[in-house]
């Protein structure tokens, strides 16, 4: 079968189905066009139109998920024996594309609706109070792996720097040019961490050195690695995958 793009392929499939239905029916008795267009539903031959409709439903799914999200419900914690080692590497590039971030030169930039926007050195970040969690990382692709992360609850940090926690979004920019954003409710969830360590060690480069945002209530692509800037905003910031069509809320 020749390769058809989204929409076209579906239309082709459906047209074949309808054509054969049509053929059979016209052999026996005339069929009103009304019944046929009922089967055909909306116009699926227009690819941009389909894509547009699907994205609208996706943003409606964002709304539904925000309602389903319980700010105090915790993701399940696992015993240390469940931890997967080595923890899978996954990014939009291969392992040779992992950014080399220098600990000495690193500084975390703050922007947007935050009162104290002075950049943070790594040593100051490491001095923040830290907690440890052992939770399941679930990838949009379907695989999952239990890992252990330690770091500062993002809520603690946001309050500390005077972020406007009534704003809608918290966005992240990364040293590998990845970017993503989460809703404020999730940013304030007790298990949403600024993770500096994984499995007891300083966060290894493939897993996001020096800073990864660990969000156990969201899919893996909402857990940015190598984070170099955090901003708070009311304007929808999107994300690397989200802008290409992944659902934005991506809640678990």
């Amino acid at each position: 079968m020749i390769k058809l793009k989204m929409g076209e392929r579906f239309a082709a499939l459906r047209n074949r189905e309808i054509a054969s239905l049509e053929r059979r029916l016209f052999l026996r008795q005339g069929l009103s066009m009304g019944a046929l267009s009922l089967l055909a539903g909306c116009n699926v031959t227009d690819e941009a139109g389909v894509e547009n409709a699907l994205r609208k439903i996706s943003s409606w799914n964002d709304t539904v998920q925000a309602k389903l999200f319980a700010p105090k419900r915790l993701a399940q914690e696992y015993p240390a024996s469940a931890i997967v080692r080595p923890f899978p590497f996954n990014a939009f590039y291969d392992e040779d594309g992992i950014p080399a971030v220098s600990a000495a030169d690193f500084s975390l930039e703050l922007a947007g609706l935050i009162r104290e926007r002075k950049p943070w050195r790594l040593a100051d970040l490491y001095a923040l109070p830290q907690v440890t969690q052992t939770t399941r990382h679930i990838c949009v692709e379907g695989w999952s792996a239990v890992g252990q992360w330690s770091g500062t609850p993002l809520r603690h940090f946001l309050e500390r720097v005077g972020a406007d926690t009534s704003a809608r979004y918290v966005g992240f920019k990364c040293a590998d040019d990845y970017y993503t954003s989460i809703d404020m409710a999730t940013a304030l969830h007790p298990q949403t961490l600024m993770a500096f360590r994984q499995d007891g060690d300083i966060l290894p480069a493939p897993n996001g050195f020096p800073l990864k945002i660990r969000v156990p209530t969201k899919l893996g692509f909402k857990n940015p690695k190598h984070v170099r800037a955090i901003f708070v905003t009311n304007e929808y910031p999107g994300g690397y995958w989200e802008d290409q069509g992944y659902n934005w809320f991506a809640g678990l």
Binding site: L54, L68, W143, P216, G245, L252
Partner: protein
């Protein structure tokens, strides 16, 4: 168009009401979209040691397949709830799908295999049909529940627990798809063998036949 003869034709009895027909075809469409987009999602990280034929999948890439899947799930769920509500409340299920005894189903399956299964009175489902339709309804219910579990494993943690964990819920979702698909295939095959039934599912009744005066 007026045809005086039509007035003398006996109306053939209604076999499938409008709501059942509409719900059936909306369901078939939603099922097809979920099936083909689901295969693409499966291929992104197969739970088993095989991939499904990529040419048959819907969505173009993982993100596109997910958009289709999470749109069609609403169509399937809302349409399914409407159908179930109607089926239970109106007595449709009690009248058409019940009772169904294993012995009768077995007898029908044997009759079908030897090509002798009767479906002459289209207003009554035989036992094999009843069993198949109940299996399809249960299959879709299992697909929806296991789907919810892997969509919202944190918010719906007890459901995930019920399925024995996230990874088993994924396997349940896949196996439920495969089993339901087998029943759908048999179902469509049976329809092909008795094509009159397709007409009734489309227009509700058989076309009026002229009876000798």
């Amino acid at each position: 168009m007026s045809d005086s003869r039509t007035e003398h034709l006996p109306a053939s009895p209604m076999i499938h009401g409008r709501l059942v027909r509409l719900a059936h075809w909306v369901n078939a469409l939603a099922f097809l979209v979920l099936l083909l987009s689901g295969w693409k999602i499966y291929n992104a990280s197969p739970v088993f040691a095989f991939r499904l034929p990529g040419e048959l999948t819907l969505g173009g890439w993982l993100g596109g397949a997910l958009l289709w899947h999470f749109a069609a799930m609403w169509l399937l769920a809302l349409n399914g709830l409407l159908y179930l509500g109607y089926g239970f409340l109106s007595g449709h299920f009690r009248r058409k799908l019940w009772p169904v005894s294993p012995a009768a189903v077995w007898a029908d399956i044997r009759a079908a295999l030897s090509g002798r299964l009767a479906h002459d009175d289209l207003s009554v489902y035989n036992a094999a049909q009843r069993a198949a339709y109940i299996a399809l309804i249960l299959g879709i219910a299992l697909l929806a529940l296991s789907g919810l579990a892997i969509w919202k494993p944190v918010q719906l943690a007890p459901l995930v627990e019920l399925f024995g964990g996230f990874d088993t819920a994924r396997i349940v979702h896949f196996v439920a798809m495969a089993l339901t698909l087998v029943v759908v295939a048999v179902h469509v095959l049976m329809v092909a063998l008795v094509p009159r039934t397709l007409l009734t599912m489309l227009i509700g009744r058989l076309p009026a036949t002229r009876s000798p005066q």
